[in-house]
């Protein structure tokens, strides 16, 4: 068993994964033991959830619009333009909505979390917290994690709503798809489970963004350069992890919520 650990990269990866798992465990144990500062959670919901709306809405609108146009150009050639609604809707719920929201939030919130905690680390503010007998995980990580777990599914829902609104507008007003067929087919083929899948993915991506951001922040060193490096790494690691985990999550969720069917 010595072989995989002899590679520095494997060792670094195992160590990093271990740290993330440890931080996640400590955070959830604090949450279950009720060590939640609700005032800080509300502040973070405003910061993370409310503050990310513009980014998420704009992402949703233009993704919905461009995806509708592309699907229409392909389907119209096959005389299937009324299928645009369900295809766009299912794609948005199952993939584009959660993944794009996850990536945008990783860029905006993951970076902010890491930069803030990282700056606190290099300016000894984290040590000051510890010296004042305040656990940094309880004070910094728990409120951000709870706020993200609440905000992210809502942001995903918001992204999908605006994407579908844009899709409806582009399809029916600009591309002349029959609005009744568009809506009826969309409702018929989109099920509750597609939305559940979207929200589940949003929840998982929230955990990735918050724990990678916090972990990178808490292990920052080397002053301003270190904060910059940690922040870049937080965004890169969380974005790539979202894309990779998304595949495995899709496969797993497809077993629980198979495509087609009624619900």
């Amino acid at each position: 068993m010595k072989f995989p650990y002899s590679f520095p990269l494997t060792r670094a990866f195992s160590l990093y994964l271990g740290q993330i798992v440890f931080l996640t465990g400590e955070t959830f144990s604090s949450i279950f033991l009720g060590r939640i500062r609700w005032r800080l959670v509300l502040n973070q919901i405003v910061e993370i959830g409310f503050g990310s709306q513009a980014v998420v809405i704009i992402t949703g609108i233009f993704t919905g619009a461009v995806f509708t146009a592309q699907i229409f150009f392909q389907f119209n050639a096959l005389n299937m333009s009324t299928a645009v609604g369900p295809v766009v809707s299912i794609a948005l719920c199952r993939e584009l909505g959660p993944v794009l929201t996850g990536l945008m939030v990783a860029g905006r919130v993951g970076a902010a979390i890491c930069a803030e905690i990282g700056t606190m680390k290099v300016t000894e503010q984290i040590d000051a917290l510890r010296a004042l007998a305040v656990n940094p995980v309880d004070y910094l990580v728990v409120p951000r994690a709870v706020a993200m777990m609440i905000s992210m599914p809502l942001l995903v829902g918001e992204c999908i709503f605006f994407a579908l609104t844009a899709s409806y507008y582009i399809a029916t007003r600009i591309l002349n798809v029959n609005s009744v067929f568009f809506m009826q087919h969309m409702w018929f083929y989109t099920h509750t489970k597609d939305m559940v899948m979207a929200l589940t993915k949003g929840f998982v991506f929230a955990l990735i963004v918050v724990f990678v951001g916090c972990q990178q922040g808490l292990t920052t060193s080397n002053g301003a350069v270190g904060v910059g490096r940690s922040t870049t790494e937080a965004v890169v690691i969380s974005s790539l992890t979202i894309l990779m985990i998304n595949f495995f999550l899709t496969m797993a969720l497809n077993i629980i919520f198979p495509a087609g069917g009624k619900f």
Partner: protein, 252 residues
């Protein structure tokens, strides 16, 4: 009921190394209650590292640290919290929370320890700020304070819960002589008014002469000298005389 230990802090054979470099090579030091001890030593000599061990910010590689008779060397973060409540620490740059005002910074330890009455919080913050001569600055953000004011605000935060012991990490470093003198007087005032045990890490001899009851010199990871201020000044040990007189043996 057991009587409290005579020494508030007892350190035995404390060792620490970072990246293979030995910083502390067996430090032994006893600090009785109510005493102000100044820990001298060259920059980078491990003084701040030693101080951080006393509040559990760094776990020792080996050795024993007893605070109020309780061994803290192997405690985890949560077990350390009751010990940390007995000790205040003034960080080198103050380490004020830059997202909070001075008032919120100073009130922070009280609120975190469950003080719900805003009236009591306001009274205690006002008293703490008055003690460090920072009245009327409570709504300022730390970024709008000078270096000396930041240190004084941080000191107000450290003393608001009336700890039994205060650790000062280079309290006068980077300050002009007038502000340094103010800080020195504050450290003296903490001792005379609050009867706290103080451990001051510094390489400032003016500060040492003003505040110290006892002096220890940390050299090459060990306590090279431990005694009174008078003994320090009467010492003929070249290491001590060089340090006091600020003499190096580098070639010009």
């Amino acid at each position: 009921m057991t009587s409290p230990a005579k020494n508030l802090i007892e350190v035995r054979d404390l060792r620490q190394s970072f990246s293979g470099q030995e910083i502390l090579r067996g430090v032994n030091l006893d600090i009785p209650r109510g005493e102000t001890i100044v820990l001298l030593g060259q920059s980078g000599g491990g003084k701040s590292v030693f101080l951080r061990h006393l509040i559990g910010l760094i776990p020792p590689l080996s050795g024993s640290i007893k605070i109020d008779g309780e061994e803290i060397a192997h405690l985890d973060e949560r077990q350390l919290e009751p010990i940390r409540r007995k000790i205040g620490m003034l960080f080198q740059d103050g380490a004020l929370f830059d997202s909070m005002t001075v008032f919120e910074n100073v009130a922070f330890p009280l609120r975190e320890r469950g003080e719900r009455s805003e009236k009591i919080v306001r009274e205690k913050v006002a008293r703490s700020l008055e003690l460090v001569s920072l009245e009327g600055q409570d709504q300022k953000m730390p970024s709008n304070l000078s270096g000396g004011m930041r240190k004084r605000a941080a000191l107000a935060r450290a003393i608001i819960t009336e700890p039994a012991c205060i650790l000062y990490d280079e309290p006068t470093a980077g300050l002009d002589p007038i502000v340094s003198d103010t800080i020195n007087k504050l450290i003296r005032r903490m001792q005379s008014q609050l009867k706290v045990t103080s451990i001051v890490v510094t390489h400032d001899m003016i500060s040492t002469n003003y505040i110290a009851d006892r002096v220890a010199l940390l050299r090459e990871g060990r306590i090279h000298f431990d005694g009174s201020l008078a003994n320090l000044h009467s010492s003929t040990d070249p290491v001590i005389t060089d340090f006091i007189e600020g003499r190096s043996h580098e070639i010009d």
